[in-house]
Amino acid sequence: MAQSALAISRKTGTGAALLVAALIALALGAVISRAQGGAQLGPSDFAAVRFTVLQAACSSLLSVLLAVPVARALARRRFAGRAALVTLLGAPFILPAIVAVLGLLTVFGRNGWVNTGLEALGVPGVSIYGFHGVVLAHVFFNMPLATRLLLQGWHQIPSERFRLCAQLCLTPRAMFRAVELPMLRQIVPGALALVFVICLTSFAVALTLGGGPRATTIELAIFQAFRFDFDLGRAALLSVVQLVMAGSTALLALWLVPSLQIGGGLDRMMPRWDARGGLQRAGDAAVIMLGAAFLLVPLGAVVWRGVLGLPQMPPEVYRAAGTSVMVAVGSIVVLLMLALPMAGWIAGRKGGSMETVGLLGLSASPLMIGTGWFIVINPYADPFAFALVVTMAVNVMMALPFALRILVPPMRDALGQYGRLSVMLGLTGWRLWRVLLLPRLRAQIGFAAGLTGALSMGDLGVIALFADPDRVTLPLQMERLMGAYRMDAAAGAALVLLALSLGIFWICDKGGRWRAEA
């Protein structure tokens, strides 16, 4: 009986994992079953594959390259508002893509602030559509994420190293090579891989800023094959390509990605003795200001235009907002029901390989899952009636890998520290959850719930497939307003969406930490 004393939630955990796998497998099976034997990928599909890889590579490279100086400057300096800025770096991750796109359009668009400025100077304007635009938007989303990951790395360098360097009077350059470069070597590959995977499956950005034969991602091609051509065979083939590509990168990322921490990069500001020179100081200040401006100006633009646009919003926006809140809350509930037992099961095991199950959600195309379930439901009922349920399920799949990443390490710690005590006291099953795990993991559960809520609130994916006048979420409503060139109304809706996304995240995250101690 080599039974581990700490095996927890084995049945519910495996059950949840199997359910997730089945949900994806069934969708994939359904899509493949409809794929006619003659289905083939055309030249435009290969162009989409090429574009997808190219833009993801550029986006991840640029995001991480730009993040290095910003993170370094933030790690070296203390200033008023630093904590707020670091917190804001987490915002783009939960920012609805469509809202960010609107902000970027306001700043970089055809009649945007940058182009107006350039025109006044007599310089030809820049276009935000196509390859540039997609990369720009991806960098906007992922540079702050990469900055936070790197900042975490900087803060994990033991302060003794910096003291030693100060005693040895190392120059900033020598210091970079001796201390900072080895850390970067560890963190950068993971950050690159994570951003690459995120950009690989990007849909909303490609839908709004890309498009056309030269700027279509695989995900967008799946959407078009399904929605416009109703060519299930091609959609199926593309889904498989996507699954293989994103799946293998996601697997790679799993080994490389540093764990996501709450408030990572916020605490432990240690004194530094290096980089006190005027030039270093000015350089850091400039880098921080540029980084902050890149993040804050588009966000400010959304708020500014949104306030002006609020009165012009049609009443459908409010109905859509209600629908979105419902979907988001539902996603949170379902996510917790799946992620908690799965995390417990994974944390109780010795190896961590089962985390891969969660990654399926990251690599399987949401649109593929949506398409698959459309096909599965179609013979029995009106698939449009299930639009919101499928959306909810897909949102949960998307959030699952992140939730596991957040929940598993602290759960493993809690079991490592208190597992034997719990077992000795006869705490098993539900009692173990109630006495040990739920109270110990409150903060992380709140964080994971908040992330899920925000992702779900802002998601524009499957719902676009099932578009139907009666079941519209707020991001879709916003996209429609933009498509109809009602930009002011869209800006108002963007502000509402922004407030709801950040609001649901804030409530869950604060709720988790409320009166939490020890």
């Binding site: 080599a2 208190y418 034997r420 005590l421 098993t428 109630r434 006495v435 101690e517």
Partner: protein, 230 residues
């Protein structure tokens, strides 16, 4: 009372054998070099490590495959003996009710135990706000309410200063004397052995040797033990 019948523990390339009987109400010290397997022995007794072979017989009943919580023993670990998010009352109460639903009589029992370790006024306090010695006493109060016939101590007082540690050892000694429980204590300090142990289990070279009377053994140690004691 607890018969270790040709028991063998295997962990990777580490092996430990034990074949002896622990008697009721006796106080045993487990000593031996670092890494010899003192903690491993206790973990196996408590059921955290499965046996490779052999049996454990408790008063004629085979408990080899029983879950840790179902065994007639309780253990204090080196650290993490209390849940930091639960208050003192709840931590002690877990010894009686794993679901924390204490009935009136059980509450009174917990309060009585806290009184006996001089912590009556701290029932609602969280462990983080207590000193190291106070935390140890909370854990002892839980051992008291659990009232298991065998108490295992895996150096739970190692982090305390000498005076405080002696105080705790005296308290433990009082407790087991009152409840009639047997005690098995891992220690590094010969002084501890002299202070409370009746018998000594010397762990060395892959063997947990059968217990020998403490006084005689410490007076005239065999060569291996002499080498360890220095």
């Amino acid at each position: 009372m607890l018969k270790l019948d040709d028991m063998l523990i295997v962990q990777d390339d580490f092996e430990l054998r034990a074949d002896f009987t622990l008697e009721a109400g006796r106080k045993y010290a487990v000593i031996g070099p670092s890494g010899a397997g003192k903690s491993t022995l206790l973990s196996a007794l408590c059921g955290f490590i499965p046996l490779a072979s052999g049996r454990m017989i408790w008063e004629g009943r085979d408990i080899t495959n029983l879950a840790p919580g179902a065994r007639p023993m309780t253990m204090l670990f080196q650290d993490n003996n209390l849940f930091p998010h639960l208050n003192v009352m709840q931590n002690v109460g877990l010894g009686l009710r794993p679901d924390l639903r204490l009935r009136q009589a059980e509450r009174a029992q917990v309060e009585d135990a806290l009184g006996r370790v001089n912590l009556a006024q701290y029932a609602q306090t969280k462990p983080g706000n207590l000193s190291g010695g106070q935390q140890s006493r909370v854990a002892l109060a839980r051992v008291l309410v659990q009232a298991r016939p065998l108490v295992l101590l895996d150096e739970p007082f190692a982090a305390l200063g000498p005076a405080l540690r002696n105080e705790m050892l005296d308290l433990v000694q009082d407790m087991v004397t009152q409840t009639g429980a047997a005690m098995v204590m891992v220690t590094h300090a010969p002084d501890d052995v002299r202070r409370i142990a009746d018998e000594v289990i010397f762990v060395e070279g892959g063997h947990a040797h059968a217990p020998r009377a403490a006084a005689a053994l410490m007076e005239d140690p065999p060569p291996e033990l002499r080498a360890y004691l220095g």
